[in-house]
């Protein structure tokens, strides 16, 4: 009760500040008067009496301070005072304030932007109800790690129905599969991205609608009227956000569906960055696509997400679902696992997370270095204010009080810096989303980003404010008061902290420069890595994969393959051309088992199967190590032959010569589909420079029942110039096939290195910045030390010391420091290199050459930065120097 009353009284005290101050001042005056009157009555002169009264009363200022602290919540009250003081200080030294605020704005702004990217792309869960309850169902095969992200579809429709009917640990199992469907007729048909979903999709996820209604289980029954829910973006694009869109029909594939609703504006489906145009019930699948997948047990086109019942652990749910899954037909060698689904199906998240985390580390390190510089500035300024601080200490201010006040000045700077940083980030974010094509049009900063910026600003202020404040207030009163403004000399503590700060900067810079070096070398390695085929003057054209046509068998034994090759080979500027299916750098692959009489297949899909036309190896520049490649002699129905990749040949035959031996594309060797190995080809990096050597199995295109998916063309000159001719020929010869892309392979490979470029260049940029900041820091500290020692140097020079001795003195003092901190940097660099292992290619974690290089760069920068002030000090005129003191 008493404490509550005190608290209220104190709170009131904070606000009636000035009135309360007037009251205590009047009380003190009255008290002193009464005391003086008494002393006068004892016979003192009025002057003596006044002095005696003061002595009897004690320190007026100190007592008033105590009284004030008692009056208000001391912290808030002091803060108000300090802020007023900080503002005055900023006005007095605008140069310092502007430098500090700009440095912080850039440092914190960069941190805020990177955090914003991570927050909106990586961390933020799906905009649905209780996203943490969601678990993704994934199917993996024995002995195989699931490759890449979850864009692979896992379950067939009958499997999903069985699972959903028999499981009892999830509130709901929600299925979705996305297809590109033509809307309209013939050539003018617009391709729409349509997600086919189970009827419980909207209710199960907890995703709402902006207008109309969501899809319901009643819509997902055979024979139900065909309906669709539009995405908010498509609603805007096609219907201009008009509610009349409801009830309209939309032609989709072979059906006309009625629009019944528009999804909530925040909802984008399950994959960030890949919003469908509309959702329709899965039961409509046979109507909108030509084939019926609803009864097909082996067509895996669904991603399934489960919302677990409260209290059910993922482990328990996984065990139960896996058991049901394995009891289904056709699931041998496979099993079902669960993965947290709160972020939906990943598409861009994994890559962004890696890059974003690396960038986050980078920008925070740069901020740290900037903080060290600011700390040095503050420290230097603190020394200049020594007189002022000395006076305040002498007047009875506590050290804690002054530390708090100095810190408040830094916090005020940090606050101003944060506001500037957020303004910067708010301006840069929409630009960035546009440039990087992130799916957040007109994005605003997340409140978490603002919070994050404020938090790091607080930490930064403590780093650059606290240490100098503690150091600057630890001073000898007498010296401080004697020091006049011009000839302050730095205290030992000040100097020690300054050296510590540049040591930290040097160490951190070594780490950054090393990182830049390693990432640069990694990039160089990737650019110059041997992918196993010759990438220069090679053009690859890829057809869009048409699942529909492929399952209908439309392009099997492509009728146009022979004539097409002829035409291409006779194009001017073409050295040779070849066709293949599921080739390297394409967007589809085929895998399967491979066995010999001695070696059964390890798993259901050991090898990448690549059907190729004659001339393929020559065109691609893949060396044949033994035997021969695929020739014109191979026809449909003729003797079945194959060429093995190096790795696969070694796995199956060891060191023996595989040419003439038999393999079979089945789990265990079968005589009836035996194929003769006619050659061994050099390994290639199938998916580009980052990938390892793949197990490859080449068969003649003429003997495989698959459509051509890509065309390789080796050109005489610039492959770009041949591209249009190739495109014309393809249009003419295969009018039914959509060309996904025609691109020189060298460009495709470059394109795969985007992330590596981004990392290498941003690290280099940031380490240059760090070097510049560190150089400035070293320069500042040494220059400052030299000014403090003007007299000493002047005497030395006057006594005849050679000028070079000044440089030697500086070197003796700072070289050990530079060496020691660079060594610490090297140790830290080796430690952190392990963390970045996933990002570097072909560089050992302790790359001694790069390490030594990084340390050397820092040493050079440190020597240069120290040389300038040392030289200036050595050139001073001793007479002038001594007279100044």
């Amino acid at each position: 009760m008493t404490s509550l009353r005190t608290a209220i009284a104190r709170l009131r005290g904070i606000f009636g500040g000035d009135r309360a101050d007037a009251r205590i001042d009047e009380e003190i005056a009255a008290h002193l008067e009464m005391l003086a009157a008494e002393f006068e009555s004892r016979g003192m002169s009025p002057r003596e009496a006044r002095l005696a009264a003061r002595r009897e009363f004690g320190g007026v200022a100190q007592m008033r301070e105590n009284w004030r602290e008692q009056r208000g919540l001391p912290f808030l009250d002091a803060l108000r005072q300090d802020l007023r003081y900080a503002r005055a200080q900023m006005r007095k030294h605008p140069g310092f304030a502007v430098t500090a605020i700009l440095t912080l704005a850039l440092g914190i702004g960069a941190n805020a932007i990177v955090y914003q990217v991570l927050e909106s792309v990586v961390y933020r869960p799906l905009p649905v109800r209780a996203p943490r309850q969601l678990q993704l169902l994934e199917i993996s095969e024995d002995g195989k790690q699931k490759v890449g992200d979850a864009m692979q579809q896992d379950l067939s429709y009958p499997q999903f129905r069985e699972l959903a009917a028999r499981q009892n640990l999830a509130e709901s199992l929600i299925a979705s599969g996305t297809s590109m469907l033509p809307s309209g007729e013939g050539k003018n048909a617009e391709k729409l991205t349509i997600t086919l979903v189970s009827g419980n999709y909207f209710a199960g996820l907890g995703a709402g609608v902006a207008v109309g209604r969501a899809l319901t289980p009643a819509d997902d029954r055979p024979g139900a009227p065909p309906v669709a829910v539009l995405s908010p973006r498509f609603w805007e694009k096609r219907f201009g956000n008009r509610p009349e869109a409801l009830g309209q029909t939309l032609a989709l594939g072979g059906a006309a569906v009625t629009v019944v609703g528009v999804a909530d504006a925040r909802f984008y489906g399950l994959t960030l960055g890949w919003e469908p145009d509309a959702w329709i019930p899965a039961a409509l699948q046979p109507q909108v696509l030509r084939n019926d997948y609803l009864r097909d047990n082996e067509n895996y086109w669904l991603n399934v997400i489960a919302r677990l019942k409260p209290g059910v652990t993922p482990e328990r749910a996984q065990a139960s679902l896996d058991a049901i899954y394995r009891s289904l037909p056709g699931t041998a060698h496979r099993h079902l696992t669960l993965r947290p689904g709160y972020r939906g199906l990943t598409l861009m998240r994994d890559g962004t997370e890696l890059i974003g985390t690396a960038l986050m580390a980078l920008v925070s390190v740069v901020l740290l270095i900037a903080c060290c510089n600011l700390a040095n500035l503050v420290l230097g300024r603190g020394a200049a204010r020594m007189h002022e601080i000395g006076v305040r200490l002498a007047m009875g201010a506590g050290r804690g009080r002054i530390v708090r006040q100095l810190l408040t000045e830094c916090l005020a700077l940090a606050a101003a810096g944060t506001l500037a940083a957020l303004a910067l980030a708010a301006w840069a974010w929409p630009e960035l989303t546009r440039i990087l094509e992130l799916p957040f049009p007109g994005g605003r900063l997340e409140w978490r980003t603002c919070l994050f910026a404020a938090a790091i600003a607080g930490i930064a202020a403590c780093i650059f404010g606290l240490a100098p404040a503690l150091t600057n207030t630890r001073l000898d009163l007498l010296t401080a008061l004697q020091a006049n403004r011009r000839t302050y000399s730095s205290g030992r503590a000040t100097h020690r902290l300054g050296r510590l700060l540049i040591a930290a900067q040097i160490a951190v810079s070594v780490v950054l420069v090393y990182g830049a070096g390693v990432l640069g070398r990694s990039l160089w390695n990737l650019q110059h890595s041997d992918v196993g085929f010759r990438t220069e003057r090679l053009l690859i054209a890829t057809f869009a994969w048409d699942q529909e046509a492929a399952s209908a068998g439309e392009f099997e034994n492509d009728p146009f393959a022979g004539p097409l090759l002829d035409r291409l080979n006779h194009l001017p500027g073409v050295v040779s051309a070849a066709l293949c299916a599921f080739g390297p750098l394409g967007n589809s692959t085929a895998t399967g088992p491979l066995s010999t009489p001695d070696h059964p297949s390890k798993a259901a899909n050991d090898v990448l199967i690549v059907p190729v036309s004659p001339g393929y190896f020559e065109t691609m520049g893949i060396r044949i190590l033994r035997g021969r490649g695929i020739s014109d002699a191979e026809r449909a129905g003729s003797h079945n032959v194959a060429v093995l990749g190096e790795t696969e040949a070694r796995r199956l035959f060891g060191s023996a010569d595989p040419v003439g031996r038999l393999v079979s594309a089945s789990p265990t060797f079968k005589d009836e589909d035996a194929v003769e190995v006619v050659g061994v080809a050099r390994d290639i990096r199938f998916s580009g420079p980052h990938s390892g050597a793949a197990a490859l199995y080449y068969v003649p295109l003429a003997q495989a029942h698959v459509p051509v998916t890509s065309i390789a063309v080796r050109t005489a000159g610039d492959p770009d110039r041949a591209a249009s001719a190739v495109r014309r020929v393809l249009r003419e010869m295969a009018p039914g096939r959509e060309i996904a892309k025609i691109e020189p392979v060298a460009e495709t490979v470059e394109g795969q290195l985007v992330n590596d470029y981004l990392l290498a260049f941003s690290t280099s940029g940031f380490s240059l910045l760090a070097l510049a900041l560190t150089a400035l820091g070293i320069y500042g500290v040494i220059a400052y030390a030299m000014v403090g020692r003007t007299r000493e140097i002047g005497i030395r020079l006057a006594l005849g010391a050679p000028r070079i001795s000044v440089a030697r003195m500086v070197a003796r003092e700072y070289f050990p420091l530079v060496g020691a901190s660079a060594a610490v940097g090297v140790v830290v660099a080796v430690g952190t290199a392990r963390l970045a292992r996933g990002m570097v290619f072909g560089v050992a974690p302790n790359d001694y050459l790069t390490l030594a290089g990084a340390a050397a760069v820092l040493a050079v920068v440190a020597v240069l930065a120290g040389w300038l002030p040392a030289r200036r000090a050595s050139r001073m005129d001793p007479i002038v120097a001594l007279r100044e003191e």
Partner: protein, 115 residues
Amino acid sequence: MDNRTPPHSEVPYGTLDLMVLKTLDTLGPLHGYGIARRIEQVSQGALALNQGTIYPALLRLEQRGWIDSDWGTSENNRRARFYSISAAGRKQLAAEAKSWSRTVEMVNRLLEGES
């Protein structure tokens, strides 16, 4: 600058409050100077009290509701703030006085037993 006086009074912690309450209880409403004077007189110079230290203590007591204050006129016709003990303050004084005597009694017994 006179730096010889210690920053804090040598009055044992908490006893200043008790002394102020007792003074106000005995003498009725009094200004800060009067209270300080009275405490000095009673202690017969045994306390090295900076008179100024009385004010934070007065404020503390007022915030706890044990004393009230109001403007009045001093003996030499000057406006001064007068403090008076409240009902809650009297209760507090009684409790503190009791606990104080108990403590003193206990310490005395201890010291006598020792000798």
